[in-house]
């Protein structure tokens, strides 16, 4: 017994030392003669491409390196990332899905290469040097860029609307808040579906905050943070415009132009009332319109889904849209896997080549003549899953810093419209000046503090509390850590904008 215990203790001690000291021993490094690039990336298609697929091989040939990709199911990517970081054996290219405290600390501690200066060199990286400075700023930490972002449209938000109802009522797509209100009222009261029954209402709201956030920006509130006269940052909910948007929603709620169960209505059921012809408006991402158009066709062949990007506060005010962050995760380059600068430059070079139109066509549509044909300037991609799986998920390792020129054939008119809305919105995007800043208080108390605001806002809209209580909740937010957050973020803002 005793012996066993001693043996066990010794074994245990050896293991601890071994595991702690041996971190990184399994990390493979780059051989520039015969380069293999290891990548950890999220998997979203069911059939990710495999190294034996012709598309994969064509891509490898084009970029001049072999690829060794570990696909991790997207729904649980965060846990795998934490374990990978904790184990110390890094891939050469690592997808980071959120800018969590852990990533921030690792960036500061020098776990990843800082690449901001490198990629600005247009002679070496003709594609990467075109990176959008706003998005680079969004992913930066203390003003330094550690990664290559996976570009996504900034102007993604938009409003889906029953265009056939508008036609029935002789209305146009609304352009101002007032017109919007009139449309909602008409959708409720003027029998837009012409069935002689009072069985419709205006807009569906859910527990998702997106609808409100868009409205607030249209009303003139900042995107998350604004700057006051003294150069301090103020969060959107402390502005008057934000409160006006709340008042507007409260009016819609009181007049039953939006669903009365908005506070508890599950976001996954958002489409339901739209598809069944009970309501005619959803404020969310514009691509929802594309999905609604596809799904409503079999239910009601006369239905038409329109989409638009923004409302103006009134006819003369400037156009404002709420942008996304512009990226969906970014790739970092751990120093342990790429110990030398030339290794890093080689990998960056490969990432640059992946932004060539030819490489992007491969990753998004496969091989021309095999997976797609070009018809009228659009890519007509096969739906044969036996062929599409050959490039499954490959576009997830594409950064798309340069825009893909070849566009997929539109499935319907709405899909085309959605792309137009994306582009249009982008010009009027209101940037969040605090996007890149890091607040230590927020990283600890953020979820709790956010909850104070969203709870109070919802309770105000549904009439459970009045303006005084709303103000009181704002004070509670400030005293529970909100003031610290404002301070921390303002300091960083002032340090940069001296």
């Amino acid at each position: 017994m005793l012996k066993k215990r001693i043996a066990a203790a010794a074994l245990g001690a050896a293991m601890i030392l071994g595991t702690l000291a041996g971190c990184g021993s399994t990390t493979t490094t780059l051989d520039l003669e015969n380069p293999v690039i290891t990548i950890l990336c999220s998997q979203e298609d069911v059939q990710s491409a495999t190294p034996d697929s012709p598309v994969w091989q064509a891509l490898e040939e084009y970029i001049g390196a072999k690829l060794d990709i570990s696909w991790v199911p997207a729904s649980s990517y965060g846990e795998k990332l934490t374990a990978t970081l904790g184990s110390g054996s890094y891939p050469m290219v690592l997808l980071v899905d959120t800018r969590s405290s852990s990533i921030i600390q690792n960036s500061r501690a020098g776990t990843f290469w800082e690449i901001g200066d490198k990629i600005s060199d247009a002679s070496k990286y003709p594609n990467l040097s075109q990176a959008n400075p706003i998005i680079l700023n969004n992913i930066s930490i203390d003003g330094k860029v550690y990664g290559l972002y996976r570009a996504r449209t900034l102007g993604r938000n938009g409003v889906s609307i029953r265009a056939d109802w508008l036609k029935n009522l002789g209305l146009e797509i609304p352009t101002t808040i007032d017109e919007f209100y009139n449309v909602l009222k008409a959708f409720k009261e003027n029998d837009p579906d012409g069935n002689g029954q009072n069985d419709t209402f205006g807009m569906i709201m859910t527990t998702s905050p997106t609808s409100f956030e868009n409205l607030a920006v249209w009303f003139g509130a900042p995107n998350k943070y604004g700057v006051d006269e003294e150069g301090n940052m103020i969060p959107d909910f402390l502005t008057d415009e934000y409160f006006e948007a709340m008042q507007f929603l409260k009016k819609l709620y009181d007049e039953q132009l939006i669903n009365q169960d908005m506070a508890t209505y599950d976001g996954t059921k958002w489409d339901e009332q739209f598809l069944t012809g009970k309501a005619g408006v959803i404020i969310d991402v514009a691509d929802r319109a594309r999905r609604l158009a596809t799904n409503i066709a079999s239910k009601d062949p006369n239905a038409e889904v329109g989409v638009f990007g923004y409302l103006k506060r009134d006819a003369n005010s400037e156009i404002r849209t709420l942008p996304t962050t512009g990226y969906n995760g970014y790739f970092v380059f751990p120093k342990k896997a790429l110990p030398n600068e030339e290794d890093l430059e080689f990998v960056l070079g490969v990432m640059d080549k992946m932004n060539d139109q030819a490489a992007m066509n491969l990753m998004n549509y496969g091989i021309e003549g095999r997976q797609y044909e070009i018809v009228d300037g659009f890519a007509e991609v096969t739906t044969d899953s036996n062929l599409t799986k050959e490039f499954g998920d490959l576009n997830k390792i594409s950064t798309g810093i340069v825009e893909l020129e070849l566009v997929k054939t539109y499935a319907n008119e709405t899909a085309k419209e959605v792309d137009r809305v994306y582009k249009d919105n982008e010009q009027y995007a209101v940037a969040n000046p605090a996007e890149a800043f890091v607040s230590d208080t927020y990283s600890k108390k953020g979820p709790q503090l956010d909850a104070i605001i969203s709870e109070a806002r919802t309770r105000y809209i549904v009439g459970q509390i009045g303006e005084d209580e709303w103000k009181a909740e704002l004070e509670r937010w400030k005293s529970n850590g909100g003031n610290d957050i404002i301070q921390e973020i303002s300091d960083q803002y002032k340090a940069i904008n001296k």
Binding site: L11, G12, S101, Q105, T111, Q256, D261, K278, Q448
Partner: protein, 324 residues
């Protein structure tokens, strides 16, 4: 005198005692062999990683070298205890877990006793099989069905979910289950009952398999009616399993899980539904603040071990076998 006696006698006693132990250990050598695989498992996969609890005293993030991360003493703990939400989280956790203990814990036992009373074998088997099915239905599905059932009408004049309409007909008033903060406790409880009661019977039915049929025959001869049989024979046969389960349950007194709660949360019930587990999920798993979330976990562990030990002590004091 006494001292001298002890000094002179004690080594001998010790020697005898040690010899006795050695012979016992020798006699039980095969038993130790049986213990070996399990012991190895616990050492390798449970005790070796145990250094991880030290993270609670560090400002540690995954990827930073463990030894390089600064020691911060108890500051992760004090941050947590002084958090303005601490008491609220504690209260919510205790309510959710306490309601489960009081209302859910006895149900599998009662259901097993009833199942045991069913004498038509094929029917009993069919019922058993059906009640355990919900255990396999994902929480996502259960929650989405809950929404469908209790949904209130979107606009006056529309119809609500099936359960909403039934309650409206019975009580004459419209009940919005999801927008009253304290209702979340009952929703979580009922979902739990719905999902796990049948599954919970499995262990008790196994225990009931050990009841000697002759005891029932003897009881019938003595004129015991069915309730008396249930009370004096069936129930005592599973008491020790119940106590074991109860003691183990006490160890999970601060566990509420996070998936179900996060799925059922909305702006109107967040204050009542946020618990330690959802908090750790947000701060630790989503944000990667490993030191802080380990500290919260360690705090939970300490409470758990106190609860288990007290429950075990109480059980033993009342003449039951206890857990160990």
């Amino acid at each position: 005198m006494a001292k001298v006696e002890k000094i002179t006698l004690s080594p001998e006693q010790k020697l005898i005692e040690r010899k006795r132990k050695l012979t016992r250990i020798k006699k039980d050598k095969w038993i130790y062999l049986l213990l070996l695989p399990g012991a190895l498992f616990f050492i390798l996969f449970k005790f070796v990683p145990m250094w991880g609890v030290l993270i609670a005293f560090k400002d540690y993030y995954a990827g930073i070298n463990f030894w390089m991360a600064p020691w911060v003493g108890f500051s992760n703990f004090t941050d947590f205890f002084t958090d303005s939400d601490f008491l609220r989280l504690f209260k919510n956790t205790l309510i959710i877990s306490g309601m489960n203990l009081v209302f859910f814990f006895p149900l599998p036992i009662i259901l097993s006793l009833f199942l045991n009373e069913m004498k038509i074998q094929w029917y009993k088997k069919a019922v058993q099989t059906l009640v355990y099915v919900p255990h396999f239905v994902s929480m996502v599905v259960i929650c989405s069905i809950t929404f469908m059932l209790v949904k209130t009408p979107s606009i006056d004049g529309f119809t609500g979910g099936a359960l909403y309409e039934i309650m409206k007909r019975l009580t004459g008033q419209s009940i919005n289950v999801l927008d009253t903060p304290s209702n979340i406790y009952w929703v979580l409880l009922i979902q739990n009952i719905w999902k796990e009661t049948g599954w919970g019977t499995v262990i008790f039915l196994a225990a009931l398999a050990g009841v000697d049929m002759e005891q029932y025959e003897a009881a019938i001869v003595d004129g015991a009616n069915r309730w008396q049989q249930m009370f004096y024979i069936t129930f005592p046969a599973i008491t020790s399993t119940i106590i074991t389960m109860f003691i183990l349950r006490m160890g999970a007194v601060l566990d509420t899980g996070f998936e179900q709660i996060i799925l059922m949360q909305n702006d109107l019930n967040k204050t009542t539904s946020e618990t330690f587990d959802t908090y750790v999920y947000n701060v630790g798993r989503v944000d990667g603040n490993y030191g802080y979330s380990t500290a919260v976990g360690l705090f939970k562990s300490i409470i758990s071990i106190i609860c288990i030990q007290s429950a075990n002590f109480l059980a033993k004091r009342h003449g039951q076998a206890g857990l160990f």
